[in-house]
């Protein structure tokens, strides 16, 4: 499935709608209320940073938005699907089709070539082997790594690894690029390159970018910041100066 499909969402239409969303865990005997009544909507084509101090519920938010975790209470609709109502195979299909993940630690599969790493999501989408390789090469070329197809991750620099991870995230042409501290393990120069890449992908492909971060440099370049404190939204608007 890709953005060209008939049921894709038009720019400006709501992609993610959160209504009074709660997420509560049990840690031992203690109840941890990571998210308490979050409301916001992100529309297709937006570039959003979710910021906040550690312990604010950022990570939980990232996993809920990525359909890896489900809300305890309230509603999360992604592309019109009520996530809480889906079972495991449906959630897997939803992630595969609508979401591309970029992690702080890159999370490439070791001892596996760049092109195979990138092609991985296509395998679960049921794409044939030859088509997978072709699309993976395209995605790698798009992130500027067309010359590193058959390298294994251990032979790449940190910046290159993150580019491979981004290629893996965009290979399915998802609606949403969901990034968890994508520049956290990179020096500032490489971090800036990666930031630029997200901006380009946002403007050129129209992919919605949601970045969970506490990097102010990353946050101030986004068009919209959502600030979480203690599991609640305390700010939602354009980047504030002086942060």
């Amino acid at each position: 499935m890709s953005a060209e499909d008939a049921d894709s969402i038009a720019i400006g239409e709501p992609l993610m709608e959160l209504t009074d969303l709660h997420r509560t865990f049990m840690m031992g005997d203690e109840e941890v209320r990571a998210l308490r009544g979050v409301n916001f909507t992100i529309t297709k084509g937006e570039y959003v940073c979710i910021i906040g101090p550690s312990g604010s519920g950022k990570s939980t938010m990232m996993y809920v938005l990525g359909c890896l975790d489900t809300p305890s209470q309230g509603s999360y609709r992604l592309a019109g699907y009520e996530v809480a109502e889906l079972d495991d195979p449906e959630l897997a299909a939803l992630r595969n089709r609508y979401i591309g993940f970029v992690f702080q630690a890159f999370n490439l599969i070791p001892r596996t070539t760049t092109v195979d790493n990138v092609a991985l999501p296509l395998r679960y989408a049921g794409v044939g082997v030859r088509e997978r390789r072709k699309r993976a090469e395209e995605a790698l070329t798009r992130v500027g790594l067309g010359h590193r197809l058959d390298h294994t991750p251990d032979r790449l620099s940190g910046g290159e690894r993150q580019r491979v991870a981004i290629a893996r995230a965009i290979v399915t042409k998802p609606e949403l690029l969901l990034c968890d501290e994508p520049t956290g393990n990179l020096d500032s120069r490489v971090g800036a390159e990666i930031t630029k890449l997200f901006e380009d992908l946002n403007s050129e492909l129209g992919v919605t970018v949601v970045i969970v971060t506490h990097d102010p440099n990353l946050a101030k370049r986004a068009k919209r910041n959502i600030k979480l404190v203690d599991g609640q939204v305390v700010y939602d608007g354009p980047p504030q100066e002086g942060r």
Partner: protein, 399 residues
Amino acid sequence: MFEHILSAFLALKANKIRAALTMLGVVIGVLAVTLLVGVGDGARIYLDEQISGLGTNLMTIVPGRRETRGFGPPAGNTARPLVMEDVEALERQGSLLRGISPMVMGGGAVRYKGRTRDTMVLGVGPAFSDLRNMHVERGSFVRSEDVDSRRRVCVLGRTIVKELFGDENPLGQTVRLADGRFRVVGLMEERGTSLGFDLNDLVFIPVTSAMDLFNQDHLSQVLASARSKEDAPAAAEEIEQILARRRNGEKTFTIQSQDDLLKTFGALTAAMTLMLLAIASISLVVGGIGIMNIMLVSVRERTREIGVRRAVGATKSDILWQFLLESVVISSTGGAVGLGLGASIVLLLKRFAPSVPVALSPWIAAVAFGSSFVVGVFSGVVPARRAAELDPVDALRYE
């Protein structure tokens, strides 16, 4: 499915040494199954050949009752012996018999020009040669007229000829057997051993002369053979009737057929093969535990990978199949290697050491390979389930 198998092979390729060491347990297990069962099978085939080699449709009649059927007191030691008249009756009345030979067995020293050899002396009839498939190479075997006139002639086996005569021609010479003098009339052909018994270390004399020599009036046993395999049961029935009639209906003898012997040894070797299989299975089980252990380690080590796969769209069952097939691929590959090694060893033994009885039957190849597959499934289930049930969030956070 093909996808999963392919990626299982890729995962193994990515960790060659570990995969090879993990396989080793199954390789050894399947090798052990193949070899041990090969030995058991070989023994069975060897015994079959040996027993069939005794002669075709052979029956042995021995005095006394070896089995009790139905009611009545058990047969005592008062068994009426078998005598020459019994043999004559069988020769006259037995319509389904191809041949019949009385037998008297005894031991004795054979002497020639100061050389002595203790050996087994068989008193036989002329039919013995055909019945037992033992033929003379030179001269003649014991003949009817030798039996009728109690002639003191003998036929020597290869070993005795070599020991007593060396290069000398024994035909026509006279040897001392116990306290009698016997003229050598025939030399047996080379026969090898049967069931550990040297068939070349024998002296044949006419059965009547043997009774004189050992001073006895009864026979040790009587050999008979049916005209065909189909006739064998009827022939045994006929012998029983003829002999029982001469004993007022009393069955004071036992007929042992080759089939009985085959069955007895068959049960024995089957039990041995099963026992060997059980022993070999233990190593296969150990191999399986090894795989399970490594798969559990592998699942733990690849926790993050599992998280990533789930994030990019793998379902629980995708993960389950991935690890299950990895285990099956390790185990089956190990099984194939073990089978290949085992088969090679069996074939090499057959070629370079033909005296070692080994065999490789297709069923054992199938069992060996099949069991390695089953071992793979069993050792893969627990780790694969564990992998599939991992929470993707925990998996991604795993350090």
